[in-house]
Point group: C2
């Protein structure tokens, strides 16, 4: 409804790393298998998160990725800036190239307040917060095992 797969993977991966002891590199392979996402694709995304200064990467044995100092304070909006681009929150709902208070599409005035709420939420959710929510066990980061999804009737 809102985010590209790329953004979803990026957020999931970053939260996952944030749940791990800081400073200990996490393997791409491990993240991908935990989140159940394509490893090679995730690797690309990890690269871009490195370039976006959210992660450190280490090659070779004992390599992997870990959060940069202070990166656990990163909020979702900052991540989406990297994965969705800077115009993410600036686009018109109906797709008009220009849609501002001065010259707007017929949804504009109704949409702006909702957009503000979305942005506020994305701004307040940090990796730290989300990681803690996962650590409590109340929330999930990866899909349920298929066995739980569609319980099979005994043969």
């Amino acid at each position: 409804m809102i985010l590209s797969r790329t953004s979803q993977y990026a957020i999931q991966a970053l939260i996952f790393i944030a749940t791990r002891p800081p400073g200990e590199p996490v393997l791409n392979r491990e993240i991908a298998s935990y989140l159940n996402v394509p490893p090679a694709y995730l690797a690309k995304i990890m690269q871009s998160l490195c370039k976006g200064n959210l992660l450190y990467s280490y090659r070779g044995r004992l390599g992997g990725f870990c959060l940069r100092e202070g990166a656990s304070k990163t909020d979702l909006m900052q991540i989406l800036l990297l994965t969705e681009g800077p115009s993410f929150t600036q686009e018109c709902v109906l797709g008009l190239k220009v849609c501002s208070d001065a010259t707007a599409c017929p949804m504009h005035t109704k949409w702006v307040p909702i957009k503000k709420k979305v942005v506020a939420l994305l701004n307040e959710q940090t990796l730290e917060k989300l990681a803690r929510a996962v650590q409590t066990g109340k929330y999930r980061l990866s899909d349920l095992p298929t066995s739980l999804l569609a319980p099979m009737r005994r043969a």
Copy 2:
């Protein structure tokens, strides 16, 4: 941020038709040129809106599209059901296959209220309403002419 191009075109086209005298078929060509969208692509979308029972279509001379009876009461949610599919509002923000109150991603509880607001808005905005908003002249349906977009300095 939310809607596919297809959905945006569909909504724009339907609002446009709703601003026209009911019962008088509007040409695909005319809609496309007014909205400045690719005519052949729009034609496909119009077809699917016919199949979705929002429009009548007439072939031949004096042909075109017009709203079905009562279709001006259609709200955006109904349109999006056609263009985005039924799972539009049911997807998890982080992309989990299953994310419900019982077993949720760490964004779930914060996201649900916002999603509700979005759905409520989409449910209350009808073609009628939106068309009227356009007819007042306060709101636009199509892009500004490029001359207004990027005023050129005299040579």
